[in-house]
């Protein structure tokens, strides 16, 4: 291998160097992004004293913080809320987004592109700008600190992205196949259930996954609209920053437990995620 490379002409010899630099760059960026998570996981296994001492990778790991966290409050209750809210809002978003994306992909009008852009533009509004009106509405209709309330908010929050992604996946679907279905006597509903959904399932799955992740990690609304009953894991983490001061080790242990489920889910579905996030551009 080495001899082969050495015997290569000069202009191709620059390639391995280029590759080396790019690889190093890639790894560095990945490490920079990953480092806070790594540090958090490590801190979770430290004692409180070690956690605030000079940063060090060398320490004797302990489950002390985890035990303390477990003893203090019901992780399970928060986790259950997270699951219910993340999956509930994702299902609701898909239910609304599939018909809308179908209409825009297969029955476009002059204003379809505009509608899509307008939907996306709502994502540019800082959520805090509508916090007060939404808080008041929620208070008046009794949605404060309810799972239903958060499901509604998360659905609305993710709907533009979900519609966009589904729209791109549906657009990729050959129109002929749906027309063949129509010739075979399929109603619109049959067309969707027998042809469109099975054929775009990978796309729908990655869209759903993204929506679950976004809902799972959302903290702004959950902190402001829930207190105890419907609080998800993000609120659980926040509860460890108490007025008496920060307990870094416990906070880290709690955070690790909060992100673990979604981290594992993301790890298992990496492939679909990448395809989903490139918005159907890579096949």
């Amino acid at each position: 291998m080495t001899t082969h490379r050495n015997s290569a002409p000069a202009h191709t010899r620059s390639l391995p160097i280029r590759q080396l630099v790019l690889t190093l760059l890639g790894w560095s960026i990945a490490l920079i992004i990953f480092f806070p998570i790594l540090w958090m996981v490590l801190t979770g296994f430290k004692t409180e004293t070690a956690a605030i001492a000079d940063p060090s990778f060398i320490f004797s790991p302990t489950l002390e913080s985890y035990q303390a966290v477990q003893a203090r409050s019901g992780y399970a209750r928060f986790a259950l809320n997270s699951v219910a809210i993340a999956f509930g809002s994702t299902l609701l978003a898909l239910l609304i987004a599939i018909p809308s994306a179908y209409a825009m992909a297969f029955l476009p009008t002059k204003r379809t592109k505009g509608t899509l852009l307008w939907m996306l533009s709502t994502k540019m509004l800082p959520p805090v700008g509508v916090l007060v009106p939404i808080y008041l509405i929620f208070r008046d209709v009794g949605l404060l600190d309810t799972r239903t309330g958060l499901i509604i908010i998360y659905t609305l929050m993710n709907l533009p992205i979900v519609v966009w992604m589904l729209y791109t996946f549906f657009k990729d679907m050959p129109k002929d196949i749906l027309e063949a279905g129509r010739m075979d006597g399929a109603s619109t509903l049959q067309e969707v259930f027998f042809l469109l959904l099975p054929l775009t399932l990978p796309g729908i799955a990655s869209t759903g996954l993204l929506s679950v992740i976004l809902s799972w990690n959302e903290a702004f609304w959950s902190l402001n609209l829930t207190s105890s009953k419907a609080a998800p894991l993000t609120a659980y983490i926040a509860s460890f920053s108490s007025p008496e001061g920060l307990f870094w080790a416990k906070l880290s242990a709690a955070s690790t437990m909060a992100i673990a489920p979604i981290l594992i889910l993301g790890w298992m579905t990496q492939k679909q995620m990448v395809r989903g996030l490139t918005f159907g551009a890579v096949k």
Binding site: D176, E179, A180, M183, D184, F194
Partner: protein, 385 residues
């Protein structure tokens, strides 16, 4: 029994009119081919017949009944798409039985019908495969099978062979002709390939810019094109066109002065011609003959030897003329050749590009595919091989 009538059909997308008033009759068991260059509206017309596109105006009648507002599945038609449009997640059997599954036909009956169609198309060993495990020709057959199981009154084919390689295309062409025979069905076929049109059609509909240029049997179109467009479109290689001067008009035809000055009388009716009207002479490459005393001459620019035939591309002034000659002509590039033609093989077009009517009908012009069979079948057993 299945007939189709189109009455003044138009289609408009926004401000653009793509179909500009088409009238057409398709008879029972006829094989009709829509042919034309891309963008002529042939696919749109077929999609309107299928019900996938609505007509802006006019009537579509199937078996005498107006179908404009009837959905695609209820028109009694089946369509084979250019891309085959197979359902990728279903097996061959699932693909072929999908329409029956939607209609709630019991599984046993479905299977029986699929098997019947599979037998016709030799698809039986493939019934459990998914489309991606099939070759192009097999996919094509599944698409046709899906149409057959619906037992339609009219089959629609939208450029079904254009994704196949040349050899397979010839084979499928023969197979489609056989199917037409076997199923005894009315078929409408869209293609831009005039060889497919010439070989399969009972009736060719030549479309151009959203209007019908001519309707007729392949031989009628070849021998008596109604205008310059049809003359240029039907026949391969393309017909040669020369500008000629009008000389005189008599009962024998119209005498024109050929490029080079010699007069020639073409046996066409010229009574309506205006004096000094610009004329164009059309002669097919296969009707030009190399002839030392011929009235035309030019220099060979390109020479393509195909074995049985040789195509000569001859520069004649500004024009590049194509001549189909024998396979063994001895000419070389840059040689000057003399050539001529039989006057009754030539076509004359007026200033609007409309063909002047021939004084005599070509004997094959009224030939149908049925005649073809009647003529060849009895001869086959004792005939020469």
């Amino acid at each position: 029994m299945a007939t189709l009538q189109l009455k003044n059909i138009t289609k408009q997308f926004g401000d653009t009119k793509v179909i500009k008033g088409i009238d057409l009759d398709v008879n029972d068991r006829e094989f009709v081919v829509f042919v034309g260059p891309s963008g002529c509206g042939k696919s749109t017309l077929m999609r309107m017949i299928a019900g996938l596109e609505s007509a802006s105006d006019g009537d579509i009648l199937i078996n005498g009944q107006r179908m404009n507002e009837v959905g695609p599945a209820d028109r009694g038609l089946a369509m084979v798409f250019q891309s085959y449009a197979l359902y990728p997640h279903m097996t061959v059997e699932g693909n072929m039985g999908f329409s029956m599954r939607l209609a709630g036909v019991p599984k046993e009956e479905r299977r029986a019908k699929v098997l019947e169609a599979a037998k016709i198309l030799q698809l039986e060993p493939l019934l459990d495969r998914k489309p991606k495990a099939l070759s192009g020709g097999q996919r094509q057959r599944v698409a046709i099978g899906r149409a057959i199981v619906r037992n339609p009154s009219i089959f629609l084919f939208d450029e079904p062979l254009s994704n196949l390689d040349a050899a397979l295309r010839v084979q499928m062409r023969i197979e489609l002709a056989r199917l037409h025979e076997e199923l005894d069905a009315t078929m409408i076929y869209v293609t831009h390939d005039q060889i497919e049109a010439m070989t399969m059609a009972d009736k060719i509909v030549v479309l151009h810019d959203g209007v019908v240029e001519q309707v007729g049997s392949p031989m009628a179109l070849y021998h008596h094109p109604r205008n310059r467009f049809v003359a240029g479109f039907i026949g391969s290689p393309k017909m040669n066109f020369f500008s000629v001067e009008q000389h005189s008009i008599s009962s024998d035809g119209v005498t024109v002065r050929l490029p080079g000055g010699r007069p020639c009388t073409i046996p066409v009716a010229g009574e309506q011609l205006a004096r000094d009207e610009a004329l164009e002479l059309g002669i097919r490459p296969e009707h030009l003959q190399l002839d030392e005393n011929g009235p035309l001459s030019g220099q060979i620019k390109v020479l393509e030897r195909l074995g049985g035939q040789t195509s000569l591309y001859v520069q004649m002034g500004e024009l590049l003329i194509t001549i189909m000659a024998d396979g063994d002509v001895a000419y070389r590039v840059n040689d000057t050749v003399q050539f001529g033609f039989a006057a009754e093989r030539a076509h004359l077009f007026d200033a609007q590009g409309v063909a002047l009517e021939s004084l005599s009908q070509h004997p094959l012009a009224s030939l149908t595919r049925q005649d073809n069979r009647a003529a060849t079948e009895p001869a086959a057993p004792g005939g020469q091989v």
